[in-house]
Symmetry: C2
Subunit: 210 residues, 2 copies
Amino acid sequence: MAGTKKKLARAPVTRGVRVGGRSKRVVEAALRAAVNELARSGYTAFQIEEVAREAGVNRTSIYRRWPTKAKLLEAALREVSPFHNTQAMTGNLRRDLLDLSQRLVRWMRSAQGKTLMSLLTRDVRPPELVRLARTLGDESLAPWWALVESAKLRGEIARGIDARLLIQMILAPVTVRLERGERVNTKVLTTLIDVAVSGAAPGQRRTRAR
Amino acid sequence: MAGTKKKLARAPVTRGVRVGGRSKRVVEAALRAAVNELARSGYTAFQIEEVAREAGVNRTSIYRRWPTKAKLLEAALREVSPFHNTQAMTGNLRRDLLDLSQRLVRWMRSAQGKTLMSLLTRDVRPPELVRLARTLGDESLAPWWALVESAKLRGEIARGIDARLLIQMILAPVTVRLERGERVNTKVLTTLIDVAVSGAAPGQRRTRAR
DNA sequence: AACTATCGCAACGACATGTTGCGTTAAGGA
DNA sequence: TCCTTAACGCAACATGTCGTTGCGATAGTT
């Protein structure tokens, strides 16, 4: 057609993706904003528009990198550093459990922890996102497992007790109370741990299965 | 104007709302469908259109009665009969707790229970709806309170134990496991109750507050 | 049978998600 | 430094759900 300029075919100068400078800033800002938005608004109220605004980035740029809201949430979730225990164990079960739970509560109150907890709720879609959140959540349980198992070896916890269930007896009330805005202080944690540890000790009465 | 018929003003024959027949059917069908939809799809995926279809009713009819989705959910929630304990207590704490928890688990697995549990999740909007759900949920706890308090009087539970917290140690793991699809059978319930009751008994070691 | 509350249907506006075309900016190899 | 083009910003669009409104049809109630 008239006016159509045909450029000579030449080998492209660059090939790879651009990872530095602007692109990097956009990705980092978007993911950080996504984590904050998720922690602040929760899963249902989470809006891409708001993430874009907080990141100082156009909405389109987000969609070009993460095709759906779920993908963005997934990426944001992966940014969340899982709860890691760095404290050395003292060998005192109740003391170690208290330490662990106090640090976990602090983490759960942070943006990182809120983000994970938002996605641990059921009826989050798609299901893969829930699965990912659960996987990350379960990873946080590793030090708890270790504590209970070594306590079993020392004979402080009855061998017949399901370790996962025992940990749930401490953590499930904590998460429920945090969600509801009920107090979760040292006294509460101490009570949870005392009841669980005493109740799971060997020699306590157990109801026979019928 | 031409063609405009002016009717003689006459006193209206009826005044009150119509509660029988069609209207009644529409209301009942809509609320029943809403409960089912909430139990099936959960809060996030809940759609008015789907409720209307299942109820065999036009979408508009639902909106005319309940102006917002939240109002419909609220009405549906009020339809849910709260968990009521009809069983006589035997005075055996563990046995009564097991009875109670088994019935509660059965109820939580019903459409009624799922409906309530869907709305007990945080980040459900508006907040009033969450508050209503929590109120109804707390009402279900009445028999549990009674059990723990009378056990305290008999000296089976230490007086210093927070009854609400102790109940949470049994119920929170149950709800978490139900949400995640983990097993909640008699063995699990028995363990929860054994650990909680033994651990909360008088004479067990308590960590001193620092 | 007459009156009218309530229904069904259709059309509309508002809002969030997700897509696409195009012009502009800047990363990075020459 | 200069050129190519990956990635951006902007605007416009398509879709789906919520929620509203007008109007004619249906069916309680008197």
